[in-house]
Subunit: 216 residues, 2 copies
């Protein structure tokens, strides 16, 4: 199936305008059919040995979100304590999640036992199953953006909070807790670039021809 | 920036028609500007704390590809020995890489020291940097598909072969070795589904409402 030039440009537009959303969520509900399309896109990610190790736990209730927000608040206090001086001050002003504001949360997981103990292609690098679930996250993120829905990845939360709050079995690894919702706006740049936390690297400095060259 | 319905459909078309390519590579060269667009898309993946931990080592020479192919052949012999009976027989008939056929190889890596020892958002889960590089892989894969270029992820190769062959420093983690090239065709289904290795899971069985439900 051939992708046309206009379709190609649409893919690039979506990739370049995808953001990690924290502060701009609106409360408008996400229709079921839209959510299903986004999850179907996630389910069509590549997976090692076609093991499809992902599951999706959909969070809608305020009660569940409040518990997760408490988990974030605790982990974020631990995180903030690691920074010093100006960096600490700037850190404390950043909004790093939108758990309560986003109408839907999705925990994407990895079942490391899916399809049995021996998985084609996962014999040399055992982490390939985790990487497959991350590919599902990125498909989900781009599909959501294509639906003009924002996604924010909450990485500052301990796995045991997700396990306990969502009843996730011990042998299942939480990969990402994602907040989803329509947004007031998508910014042109990542929040941390816009706020001068770090600059975007020059791509040419990250490309090596045939052999690694020390560049940075 | 609003994504139109036609643009949304283009994103879904690309996601659903993305394949892991092994046997269908053509030798036609990939123009430099096309490769640059694909790498730019990878570089615009989300990364924890905006650390952008990825690098891209571009492989073009037959000499380098031959060394990597030897690495695959060894790791694949180890892998095949783990399977038994019919499964072993079927495994031996599968083509699992296109290292020599694809005009370009790209090793996507993760520099775990990028942007310093303390990374915003990577304080709770230290693997977030690896996941960021995987997001870059998936962006690269979809951008390539949008350019009608196939990608195959070679997971059956030891990291030390990649380190040695490509001169990658010890502290840099190889995340994926990807083969890229134009293709004779993209199949409708993943190879392993088409060859009855495993079936696609029913998406509904992977969706949990509010709490994990034992379904599988």
């Amino acid at each position: 199936m051939k992708i046309t030039q206009a379709e190609r440009d649409a893919v690039y537009k979506t990739i370049f305008n995808r953001r990690d959303v924290r502060a701009e969520f609106k409360s408008d509900p996400i229709p079921d059919d839209v959510l299903k399309r986004i999850l179907t896109a996630a389910h069509h990610a590549p997976s090692v040995g076609f093991m499809q190790p992902w599951d999706f736990v959909i969070v809608r209730s305020d009660q569940t979100k409040l518990k997760l927000k408490q988990g974030f608040t605790q982990a974020n206090a631990e995180a903030e304590a690691l920074f010093e001086g100006d960096r600490k001050e700037q850190y404390s002003t950043l909004k790093l999640e939108g758990i309560l504001e986003a109408p839907i949360g999705i925990c994407v997981t990895c079942d490391r036992t899916r399809s049995g103990p021996l998985v084609l292609g996962r014999t040399t690098n055992l982490d390939m199953d985790l990487y497959s679930s991350v590919c599902a996250v990125q498909n989900l993120w781009l599909a959501a953006r294509a639906e003009n829905i924002g996604v924010g990845w909450v990485s500052i939360i301990h796995d045991d909070v997700l396990h306990q709050t969502l009843g996730i079995p011990k042998h299942i690894v939480p990969i990402a807790y994602l907040c989803l919702g329509y947004v007031s706006q998508f910014y042109d740049q990542p929040d941390l670039e816009r706020r001068d936390w770090l600059k975007r690297q020059n791509l040419d400095s990250l490309i090596h021809e045939e052999q690694w060259q020390a560049k940075l």
